[in-house]
Amino acid sequence: MSQPPPRRWRLSRRGFLIGAGVVGGGLALGVTLGLPALRLALADAFEGAVPPTIVTTDPFLWFDIAPDGRVRLAVPKTEMGQGIHTALAQIAAEELELAWEQIEVVQSSSLGPVADNFGTNASNSVSSLFAPLRETAATLRELLRVEAAERLGVAPAALSAAAGSFFVTAEPQRRLSYGELATGATAREVPPEPPPLKPGAAWTLIGASLPRVDLPAKIRGAAIYGYDARVEGMLFGAVARPPSLGATLRRVAPGDVAARPGVVAVVIERDFAGVVAESRAAAAAAVRALDVEWIEKPPLQQEQIEAPVRAAPGRGVAVQRAGDAAAVLRGARVITAEYRTPMAAHAHLEPQAALVDVRPDRVRAWVSTQYAAGTAQAIARALGRNPRSVEVIPTYLGGGFGRRMISEVAIEAARLSAAAGRPVHVGWSRAEEFQNGFVRPPTHHVLRAALGPDGRIAAIEHSQASGDVIFPFVPAPIGAFFGADFGAWRGARITYAVPNITVTSERVPLPVPTGAWRGLGLLANIFAIESFIDELAHAAGIDPLAFRIAHAGDDERGRRLRAVLAEVAERSGWGGPVPAGRARGLACAMDAGTVVAHVAEVSRKPEGGICVHRVWAVVDPGLPINPDGVAAQTEGNICMGLSSVLFERLSVRNGRFAADNFGAYPLLSMRDAPAIEVTVLRSGDVPYGVGEPPMGPIGAAVANAVFALTGERMRELPLMGGNSNSPPP
């Protein structure tokens, strides 16, 4: 039997595709415009844009064809329940002309085959990979076609592809499967010109509600998450935690901890103390037995967290400007309102976990992380290794929600493994999860507007202030360049057609670590804006639906917004009869290119508080790759959003977050979950993200319904207030 020729692993001439050149173009503009104008220009350019991504388009990195014809797709994005592995498989299988059963998904690691420089976040996985993945799959298909043409002795154009085979169109029995063609095809040069793409009218997999590829393993309990990662000879690690926020290590006396039964190593470094043991419990007990002295800061209190977050017109960085809102408001009858949102925890149900095996020449880490490349770099830095010698293999994630963009646990396990010379697993407890890391920052919003004699908004001003969201993750010069945290002002711009608009965002450094939480500033900003739009509609004496439709723009996004609003009105029977004791509220958002609107139906609970009975949601993600997946993400965003807007407020007391577990930080349960009816619209041939946008409007939809029911305007989250994280009795 002859040896197959070696695979030609190399990058083609069009090896890397760089998406949306927003930043580069903006930088060029800045030379002539000056900094404030440049910031505005960038904010304009970001609107609805797909974040930049750099990804290989070499088909031999993305795909591997087995002799039996099954095709493996190496996905760069991690699966945390959003269904991304399935959506990407649909896109690839469509362009490759595979039957759905013929494609199989494998997770890329930080070293490839398809490296991801961006992480899995910002609702951008489908939107940023749609074009490069289609093009890459089509390239592979055309390579297979050329190989098939040569082998069958016909012109390439005489061939058709279906279900993983090329056949002579006029003689369908003359065919070769991809498995038979693979070796020859992969020895060919990738042509420089982009291949023809399959037209949308011929799609059968894109747009189909195919079942999730990860669920068969998940329903058997066989899927492996970071907390489940196991290798032969592994040990367990635990790490000493600061007793209060901001405390640093002064001194550690190991005492006789190393001699305790089950303890393998006590690891004491300048800023780190941990123990490696035969069992998780032995490691935790040994860490508790260490004599650790901490340098503590004066204990933080809640007043120090929220009080400095105070927005005011004229402060911060302008991120949207049209006309002259200040001038119009000066002489007018101004309607004004303030809104506030609290700190929140991510509360993903799988606490951070990692298994790391540090060897002299290489490091392997299995981590439930959203950002394999960043985690690999962090491990390399901590151990003084070359990042190319560190492989981070993402497992399934038990929720992410932004928290797993940073995976400290992997660095901890790496340091412990390096010291112990064995693989070490570290899994955080729920209290470690609540007390360490970062939280969603509090925000404050001042909205001012004036109505014209026609009842339309003549001018509107949104001044928002927030703790940091993205700045903790980007180099300081980028923060200085932008001035305002572009994560914090996500959703802060006014997307209605109003002639005079000013939106400013003020960065408030806080003494607690804050950062990305699902949707970034979206939930807070849309809560404020869409509540205020409701207030304006009532002030104008116009139905909130009609008011919004009247203010939708004449451009494509405005048309999409009108269509979504009309659909949600139709589905919910807006303006029609409502069950006694209940009322409805409407809110909408345009985010990450996706347009969404919710109608919430609420009542007062007899014992006090709000009951959300039903939510009608309409979402237009441009092109829904998997409509049922879009619906699932919409339902999930509504429930997680409701949990946050109804119940969640994380506070600080005596230098610690005032919750160690779900007793003091209750989450929405099935009892409080509404019935949800989702309608997915298709408005085009380009897909936008759905991992976060549907969360945006839920707070305002509920608050607006409460106003319709009671006349009480709720301007502070959580709407059911009062949860000060009191310790459980």
Partner: protein, 157 residues
Amino acid sequence: MNLTINGRTYQVADDPPRVLLWVLRDELGLTGAKFGCGAGYCGACTVHLDGVAVRSCQTPLRQAAGRAVTTIEGLARGEALHPVQRAFLEVQAPQCGWCMSGQMMTAAALIAANPNPSDEEITAALERNLCRCGAYARIRRAVARAAVLACGSGEAA
């Protein structure tokens, strides 16, 4: 001491005292039961003891001795999925999936005890199983569907 888990007998030390969850996960390699809170709030660690749903993070190991422990790995009969698993798949209920072993074990115990649960009975049984992804609407639908599937196939246990 002997533990009977999913019909198989395991020999485990009964000292030091520990809870069932970590013995399953860290000593026996059965990672299907998940750790979420360690305090009984979230239900991700739910398993059956003699068919009754319990929180394995709150269950002392000794309490499991001499009783039939069933975890998510033992819910299917070989290749044949339990009606609850079939329903959760059919409805595409899981998102991240971390809470789902607990949701399904709770649902399976409910249906075994009450083959035709009302909406309120489903909520009452499942409301202490948290799902951060917010898949509640589908979980509710999947449990109701599972009851129908179990009824049809007579495999509620």
